[in-house]
Structure formats: structure tokens, C-alpha cells
Symmetry: C2
Subunit: 151 residues, 2 copies
DNA sequence: AGGCTGAGGTCGATGGCGTCCACGGACTGT
DNA sequence: ACAGTCCGTGGACGCCATCGACCTCAGCCT
């Protein structure tokens, strides 16, 4: 994990579809060398996935909400997590400090679906209560901050 | 924006580095056809970017926090937004319903940096107060939910 | 009805790319 | 000094990206 690896990570966070040849030009190595480096970064779990970022409204996900969840005292956190994992609408799940153990970012098509989702969450064993905040708009999301000051 | 486009979007949300040839096989079209379709999806803004998803701790971003921001009464929301946009540590920015106008997801290297960031946020014109919740761990993030029931 | 037009597909060709392999130089420990 | 290891380069070969030519079909105008 040297400076070149960090540059590669930065480049791929900016554009995951860069060719190995292009990456090679940017970091000043040969294509096979960056191929091997990127492969190792993937194997080591530094790079977890390559994802296309899509405007959610364009694929029918018109409602974004953030839901804080308070666990029952004595609830098994792992069980709750497993139940959450099975709900595809939960795009992100953070385990938080504070009374509200979880913060969930969810996306659904309509407010009616959000209502059903909240009901479902409140019914899952181990959750005591939820608190939902609706996002009126997403200004930006997952903007990669550069790790290397100037590559 | 037909069923094939949705399949392409789903496939690329799952793996942004799929080749056009592979996409073509999956959707049953020729490579040039999917090339053109994907190009149009990008041009139309449906696909905004391709990003490598990186484990934040591996690149020195050890602290994740969510910060709710209350605006000053009479503050210009656009000015506040512009100030936020200039802060690279703010990875996501949602405009929320409720008293707290903004929710920011931030990532920094250390708690000390988080403290400096919070001070900076409180000093920016237009913000009345902030409320910070620290994420102890990220269970998952930006998991793509399938749009097409079963491609 | 017939033909024009445009959208969106296939096919074929070609140049570049991904990927495998053999080889070579620097660093390290003995 | 020497062998081993790591990490790179360069060459080779097959696949892929991408362009142009052509095909098909639907909609529409005359």
C-alpha cells in the first residue's frame, strides 16, 4: 500500500471504468504491473466493488429517508442486523454511538412504500422504536475525497 | 428507458467494470447495441459515474460521522450549500425535511480532525447549530437494490 | 397502398487492450 | 558473494471496443 496504490485507488474512485492501460499511463507503470496491483488491492479487500452510480429518481426510487432505530433493551444486535440485511430497501446501515443504535438510509418508490417499510421495521423483533427523517433532495452522495493530495 | 436499459443499469450497479461484450451476453444484444445504450444512459444522466468502492479505513479514513445542521433563520441555503461543497470531507449532503435542514455524512482520519471539521461547520455563515452522531461501524453502504425483479 | 424517414438493431473489420509468460534488476538475509 | 524474493518490463496472442455499412420495422405523409 504505497503511493502508487493510493493513486490507483483514487483514480478508480473517480472513474471505475478506466482501462488498465490508462491507469498505467497515469501512474507511470506498465499495464501488467497495474493489473497485478489492482488485483492485489481487490484481493486484500481495499477495493470492495465497482459500482455505477445512478440517479435514483430515474429508476423509480423517488423517496429517500433516514431512519434511526432504537433497539429493545436485551435485543440481540446481530439478529436485528440480519433482519435489516434482508430488507433490500436499506441501502446503508450504520451502527451508531448513542441511544439510537442504527441509522438506516433507505430508498423506496413512494411515500406509501416508505410507510409500509417503517411498519415492517417497527415489527421486527429487537427494535423498540424508529424515527424517520425524509430527505427532500440529495445534493450529492458518495463524493470521493482524494487521499493523495495531488496525483 | 425500457426493460433492457434497466437490466443494464442493474448489471452496472452490481459491477461497473463489466465489459460491453459481457453486458451484451447478459441482455441478449450485440456489443455495439449495448455500447450505444449505455452511452445514452450516461448522456441522459441516468448513470452519473462509475466508482470503485473502497474500505475507508484502508485509506486512512477511520472516522465516520453524521452531522445534522440547523440553518440560521434568514440564511441563504444556496450559500450554505456552496460552502459545504467546498469541504471535501463531506461525502454526502442531503437536504432534509424538519428543523435540521441538512444531514451530512463526513469521513475524516481521526477524532481530532472531526473536531476541527465541526468547528469549521459551526463557523460557516448561515449555520446556526450542528449535531454530530458518530458511526461506530458501517455495516454496509450503498448496497444497490435491484430494480428489475429478476434479470 | 406505397414509399420516405428515423430509430435501433446486426455484422464485419481493425486497432488497441487485457492478460499470460519469460525474463531481469534491486534488496535481503546468510 | 550468492541465492531467493519481489516487483517490474517487454513480447505475444486472443478478445474487446468501436466504427462504418447495411438491414428491419414502425410511423407517417402523399
Amino acid at each position: 500500500m504505497d503511493a502508487i496504490d493510493l493513486s490507483l485507488v483514487d483514480l478508480l474512485r473517480g472513474n471505475a471504468r478506466l482501462s488498465y492501460a490508462e491507469l498505467a499511463r497515469q501512474v507511470g507503470l506498465s499495464a501488467p504491473a497495474v493489473h497485478e496491483r489492482v488485483g492485489k488491492l481487490e484481493a486484500a479487500g481495499v477495493i470492495r466493488a465497482y459500482r455505477a452510480e445512478v440517479e435514483p429518481e430515474r429508476i423509480g426510487l423517488n423517496v429517500t429517508a433516514l431512519i434511526s432505530v432504537v433497539e429493545d433493551s436485551g435485543a440481540d444486535t446481530d439478529d436485528v442486523l440480519e433482519a435489516f440485511r434482508a430488507i433490500p430497501e436499506i441501502e446503508s446501515c450504520y451502527f451508531m454511538a448513542g441511544v439510537e443504535s442504527f441509522l438506516l438510509k433507505v430508498r423506496v418508490g413512494t411515500i406509501a412504500e416508505l410507510e409500509r417499510l417503517i411498519v415492517r421495521l417497527n415489527r421486527t423483533p429487537g427494535v423498540a422504536s424508529t424515527r424517520t427523517s425524509i430527505a427532500l433532495s440529495t445534493k450529492w452522495e458518495n463524493r470521493p475525497q482524494p487521499v493523495v493530495p495531488s496525483s
